[in-house]
Every structure is written in C-alpha cells, then in structure tokens.
Symmetry: C3
Amino acid sequence: MRFSRKPTGKQFFELFTAIGSNIGHSVEVLREFVRAPAEQRAELAARMRELEHAGDDATHAIIEHLDRSFVTPFDREDIYRLAVRLDDVVDHMDAAVDLATLYRVQELPDGVEALVGLLCQAAQLTAEAMPRLASPQNLTTYWVRVNELENDADQVYRRLLSALFNGSRDALEVLKLKDVVDELESAADAFEHVANVVHSIAVKES
Amino acid sequence: MRFSRKPTGKQFFELFTAIGSNIGHSVEVLREFVRAPAEQRAELAARMRELEHAGDDATHAIIEHLDRSFVTPFDREDIYRLAVRLDDVVDHMDAAVDLATLYRVQELPDGVEALVGLLCQAAQLTAEAMPRLASPQNLTTYWVRVNELENDADQVYRRLLSALFNGSRDALEVLKLKDVVDELESAADAFEHVANVVHSIAVKES
Amino acid sequence: MRFSRKPTGKQFFELFTAIGSNIGHSVEVLREFVRAPAEQRAELAARMRELEHAGDDATHAIIEHLDRSFVTPFDREDIYRLAVRLDDVVDHMDAAVDLATLYRVQELPDGVEALVGLLCQAAQLTAEAMPRLASPQNLTTYWVRVNELENDADQVYRRLLSALFNGSRDALEVLKLKDVVDELESAADAFEHVANVVHSIAVKES
C-alpha cells in the first residue's frame, strides 16, 4: 500500500466550496440590506446572522476534519489559516449589518452601494476559486483580481469618507456611519487576506 | 547520548506559565481600574505599566532562550509567534488604561465592567492553558471557550457602542470613550489570537 | 554539479534592497508633506502615489521571481510574507497623505512631526537591514531598535491624541485628524511587523 504524493483531499475542497457559497449568499443579503428601506433591515440582519452561524459551523467542520485526517492536500496550518481567514469575511459583513441596525442609522452614505458592489465581485471570485484549490498555481487571476478589487475598495472608501466628513451631517452621525463603512472596508481587506493565503500556498507548492 | 524525539522544553513552559500569570495580574488591575474613582486611576495605570514592562521582559526571555536552544518543544517560529501574541494582550489592556487616564475620562460607559468580566475569564483560561502547552491536543476546551468569550465580547461591545452613540454624551466624549473601549475589544481579540496560535500548533502536531 | 546548501539568493536581496530604498524615498516625501503649506500638498501626495505604485511593482517582481526560482535563500512563504509586510509600510504612509489631502485638513496637530521623525528612523534602519538579509542573525540591533521606535511612536501617538481631544477643535475636525494620525501610527506598526518577520526568519535559521 502506498499513499499518493498529493492526496486528493476531496472533502476539504468540498468544505471550502461550501464556505465559498455561504460567502456568496451573505454578500447578496448585504446588497439587499444596503438597498432596503430602514424598516426591512432587522429581518435582513437576522438572515445575515444565520449565515454567519452557518459559516462558523463550516469552519468548525473543516477543523474537525483536519483533526481526523492523516494526510492533507496541503500543510495543515495553511488549511487552518485559510478556514480562519474565510470566517473573517462574513464576520465583517455581519458586523456592518449589525452596527447599522443597532445604531438605527437612517440613510447610508453615497458610495456604500459601490463598495458593496466590489465586495460582490470579490465574493464571486472567491466562490469560484474554492473548488479549484487543488491546483493553487492556476489561481493567479483570482488573487490578482481580488488585490485589484481591494485597491478599488480603498479608493471608494476614502472618497466616501471624505464626502461624509465634509458633508452636513453632525459628528455623532458621521461616527456611526464611519463604523459601518469601516466594517465594509475590513470585509474587502478580509477577501484580500484569503487571497494572500491561497497565494502563499501556491508559492510553497511551486 | 540521544535526544528524545519530543524535547520536554521545560523552561519554555515555565516562561509561558509566568506570562500567563502576568496576564492574570494585569486583568485584575484592569478590573480595579474600571471600578475605581477617577482620582485613583493614575496609580493603577502606573501599576499596569509595570506589568506591561514585566510582560515585555518575559517575552524577551523566551526569545533569548529560543536563540540559545538547539531543540525546542515545537517549531521555533510558533514559539516566537505565541510569545508575540501573548505580549499583545497586555499591550491592549495597558493602552485602554493609559488612554482613559490621558483623556481624563470621567465616567466609563455601562457595559465596560461586563466587557472586563469577559476578559477576566479569558485571562484565567489562558493562564491555566500555559502550563499545559506540552500537550496542545488536550486544550480543545480552552480555545473553544476563548472563541466563545470573544463572540460574547463582540456582542457586549456593539451594544455598548450603540448605547454610547444614542446617549446624551457629546461627540468628543463619545470619541474618547470609544477609543478606550476599542482597546478592550482588541484585548478580547488578542486572547482569541493566542488561542488560535495554540490551536494551530495542536493541528500541526496532530 | 551541486547546489550550495544555502543559495546566495542574490537577486532576492537586490529586490528587497530596492524596496528598502523606496521606503526611504517615501518617508522623505511624507516628511516634506507634513512640513509643507496646504497648497503644496496635492503635488507631494501625487509623488507619494507614484512611490506607492513603484513599491507595488517591486513586490510583484519579488513574487514573480519566487515563482521562477527553484532554490530560495530562506523559506518561500517567508519571502512572500516579508514582501507583503514591506508593501504595507508605504500603503499606510500613502493613506495618511491621501486622507489629509481628501479631508482638506488645514493644520496638522502638534506631535505629527515627531511621529514622522520616528518613522524616518525606522525607515533608515529598515533600508540598512535589507542588503544584510543574507545573515538575519546579525540583525538583532535592527529589530530591537525598530521595536523601541514603535514603543516611542505609541507614546507620541497617545499624547498627540490626548492633546487633540482636549483641545479646542470641533469633533469633526478631530475625527479627520485622528484618521490621518492613525495611518501614521499604523505605519510604525508596519515597520515593527517587517522587523518581526525578519526576526522570525532569524529564529528559524538559528
């Protein structure tokens, strides 16, 4: 009996694929949330919370599978790190939605929809990359694009803040909106961190 | 003469245990600080600063020991990473105390004691885990609990902010208090990062 | 034909050296920026943006070289991590400059020049360390000094915030200035993260 040099790790890739889909659903709820009238937000926030819990469960499933697996498709600590980083993405989207609800924010500032649009693109790229993790070297386009999207998000974010600070809102309102928008920006960063982990796995394997 | 496959690393575990105790002392000073009348805070802040320096010294002792050690109980870079992450915990508690003092904050907002209570629990779990690092696989309860406490801290933190923003304080006062509370929330995150390092060591060794 | 045990990795060190120089140029532009009258800032911000793009290009050059290299002077993932961390330094300096420009900040608060002075020192130490990466064990002074500078930056930063919050500026102005200053503090942290990566490479190799 012999082990193949590279175990297929089929179940890991299936679990990561499921997490990718969950991120896709979460970003859709986020998009609905920022477009919805204020009175529909509580319900969307509750749906986001469910997706966040589903993400937690999937993360735990990967780590449990890791504990039981003798061979893994790439280094154990990289699988762990990737799972933790993916979990961060939905955490930040959930935080944005939760804070906007808790703070009873009325009108979200201009630029939020553009920022969420960039998150949708990053989510789609991430969801498409997950089933292809077995060949991380072929995912160059994925991480290059996610890094570009993060740069774009940075630009949109700073211009959004600039308009917010130089507008007519009072300081406390600005503070609240900034908190919400900071979480969206952190979600863009989190997508980049996921891409960086995938990239560093590819670098190791090359 | 032969080396055992897994060196006992007794001295590393003793140093990590000492850091765990130091975190325990720091969180006690933090608890006193948030309960104390404003005029007693400077003295408690000075004690916290001493504990922060003691933590720095212990971190350096671990890294020096690492430089002199031929065999280590787990990967050198994980020992390094664990030491750095533990150091972050007290840094954030010290920052909270220092900022509250520098900003001449009068009354801390409701919820701060609850947040510090969660930090006390995380500190105790961490202090208890350090002497048991030789068998990281047996520390499942530790990292699961610390992750749960971080989730709880997140919830308390957001509700605290919501009350703060929707209260009657003026914007500058809100900003100051938010800075202090952000450091407490970062301390909760730092405990989780420590637990994640321990978890990833266990994953590697499994 | 045989490979030497430790490949010289000459080209990697040249690329890291170039990044070190680029950081040196960026911090000079930052220093000019914080001393310049408001009407000269847009031009300096444009120069900083160019340096930030040059840094991006150098980071990509390292990663491409990594993809093509069979032997590397230290672990592939550490080269990757070091490149990413170095990139962060200029990103934060660029963000500070960009936000100060976008927010149309008039007068920067006292303490900003002192903070930038510390960044200049950290930049010089980093630029000097890069050509010496082949012997990371000899760089103790470098990382000890950068860690000390980060502690100093922390102290300057907190005292600056304290003066800012207790001064006569209105809340929105305080918020804008805090955003700018936070990026400078993050740049100091980023220098420390670079030093920590170098340190952890030395620890691994020892």
